[in-house]
Amino acid sequence: LAEAANPFRCKPDEKYVMNVMVSGVEYWFPVYEMFKQAAQQFGCKTEYTGTPEYDVNKQIATFDQALAQKPAGVLVHPMNSDPFIEPINRAIEQGTAVVTFAADSPNSKRVSYITSDNVAEGTYAADAVAKAMGGKGEYAVLENPGQDNHDKRVAAFIARMEKKWPDMKLAGRAASNQDPTKAYQAVLSLTQAHPDLGAVFMPEANSAIGAAQAAKEGGGKVRVMLADVNAKILDMIKAGEIFGSVNPNQGMQGYMGFMLLWLAKHPDLIDPMNDAKRSGFNAMSVPFVDNGFSIVTAENADDFYWDKYLQRRGTKGIEE
């Protein structure tokens, strides 16, 4: 009866799963934290799964295994888009809702995709760097060629520079592949080759630790700009060793990710004026949601520490 009164409740064994690659890495934790919170508010069970490795084949194996347990929905970060088409479609067929986050599989039948706008992130980062340099000078980028969202950020960064800041010159590009030692070596080499280098941008946080150290040793003239944060990055931002970071709104990704999943699992809650019933199309489909991002600077850095956040909330993070 209570259920009839309140449709926004889960059935006793309704389970929602979040599936990622490199699952031991902290980027996912705040996402899952809010995913879990939303689920608890609905009285649903959740599970955090994925492979600790950076390997699409292994991630699909974990995805398939999760599917074998017939969960109500999966919030997935597909490491590569197309390889997930078939598994996602299989999930939809067996009645498991699928929503992608932070990376998409656009050609699959996933109901929704939630992400921050990588292009906007790259564009903003470019503006911030260029402004600080007075619109004039040399910059470089560190890349992780092959990872889609990273490539988008870098491309947007460079495109914005070329379009809006004609006096900003691209001095060099190097592949750091998320490895701090490679980033360290690359930035040292770049500063040697280009003594006037004023900024370096990278699309993730791992490289930044090495890059910032190299920049510091190079005399501190190079502004380090990146995407994502972690405790070390935050400390360096506060100390002025890192210029800034664009950080996707992870909590929103998780919370809205859950909502989208839950809705997709319960499409009969609405009765829209369209052909959904006839065509078998999911009536609750919301193709795209932008979760937004924050700009992390010395002033607001304190709000982004994971351990402080966890303490404040008193939960066990991904371990529940």
Partner: protein, 326 residues
């Protein structure tokens, strides 16, 4: 002098020894499976087993080539890159208008060519397999980046009959698994019985003695190197069919997993010994462990650690059962 001659059995000693060897691994895998089926009701479902087999079938094809290469005393660190290369070349050719089957054949041929170049450096120039294949790993990965310009090729338009190769099934048994079982069966048989493959054992066991037996060991090494790359190329094409995509970063780090599987299965890094069946069991062991941890919902922080410990324990038990040196 009393010479006692035992009648030679139907199967030779090599085959029998190998079977015995593998019994230990089979026992360990079964024990794990049984324990798991108590711990998780999902484990022994066809869905889960299918997922597990799917996850190692294509890699298993590469393991076959690697095992033969290890037997001849070589090693190939470039397999991950070559898998990716075959995928990327076939994908790019398909996108440029070729039909997918022809494109795949060219992709596999290109992989074989890479094997031939490595074989050249090993047998003619005289470098060793490790350093040659390490350089090849870097070069071929670079070629993947160049071909794709760093972005995954979307092969959404692959015709369904080609995609079926990677995604379709025959009565609930995926083609992928069928192909894998076929490749394993063929090469396991050949390795035990075919004359040509016996030379692989001779060369790996004592290259000089093989030369003193009139075996052209550099030919043997060359062709085995080519075979390993060719099988990696085949795997790449099947991955392409399965994923409908060609990603330039695919397969990075795959080589260690594959070598580990072969070594767990009894292949020696010094050459001269190893079996395909054993290597596949090694692969299965790794897969069962990984998959158990996920099903048991072990914390991600602990997964790696527990996985490594189980691996070490399994290898030690196996070693203890046969007291053979790995």
């Amino acid at each position: 002098m009393a010479v006692e001659i035992k009648p030679a059995g139907r199967r030779g000693n090599i085959a029998r020894m190998a079977t015995l060897r593998e019994a230990g691994l089979i026992a360990i895998i079964l024990a794990l499976c049984i324990a798991m089926s108590f711990a998780s009701p999902h484990f022994l479902t066809w869905g889960n087993l299918r997922a597990m087999m799917m996850s190692f079938s294509i890699e298993g094809i590469v393991v076959v080539g690697m095992t033969i290469l290890l037997i001849v005393g070589g090693i190939d660190l470039s397999v991950g890159s070559v898998v990716c290369f075959s995928m990327v070349v076939s994908g790019a050719l398909f996108l440029s208008g070729l039909d997918p089957w022809t494109a795949s054949l060219i992709g596999i041929a290109a992989s074989a060519l890479i094997g031939a170049v490595m074989g050249f450096f090993v047998t003619v120039v005289g470098l060793n397999h490790f350093i040659t294949s390490l350089a090849a790993m870097v070069i071929v990965r670079g070629m993947c980046l160049v071909v794709t310009k760093g972005t995954p090729l979307s092969l959404f338009t692959l015709p369904p009959e080609f995609k079926a190769l990677g995604q379709g099934s025959f009565r609930d048994i995926p083609y992928v698994i069928l192909i894998f079982v076929m490749v394993v069966a063929i090469f396991d048989f050949l390795l035990r019985r075919a004359t040509a493959f016996r030379k692989v054992f001779y060369t790996g066991s004592n290259e000089k003695a093989a030369q003193y037996s009139g075996i052209k060991t550099s030919h043997v090494k060359f062709w085995v190197t080519v075979l390993c790359s060719t099988l990696a190329g085949l795997a790449g094409v099947i991955y392409m069919a399965r994923f409908g995509a060609a990603t330039p970063t695919f397969g990075a780090g795959m080589e260690l997993n594959i070598i580990a599987a072969a070594v767990i299965g009894g292949a020696s890094l010094n050459g001269g010994s190893g079996t395909i069946f054993g290597a596949i069991l090694g692969m299965a062991l790794l897969s069962v462990v990984t998959s158990s941890l996920i099903l048991l919902d072990v914390s991600v922080y602990w997964q790696d650690m527990i996985k490594g410990c189980i691996l070490l324990a399994a290898v030690s038990i196996d070693h203890f059962l046969h007291s053979r040196k790995f």
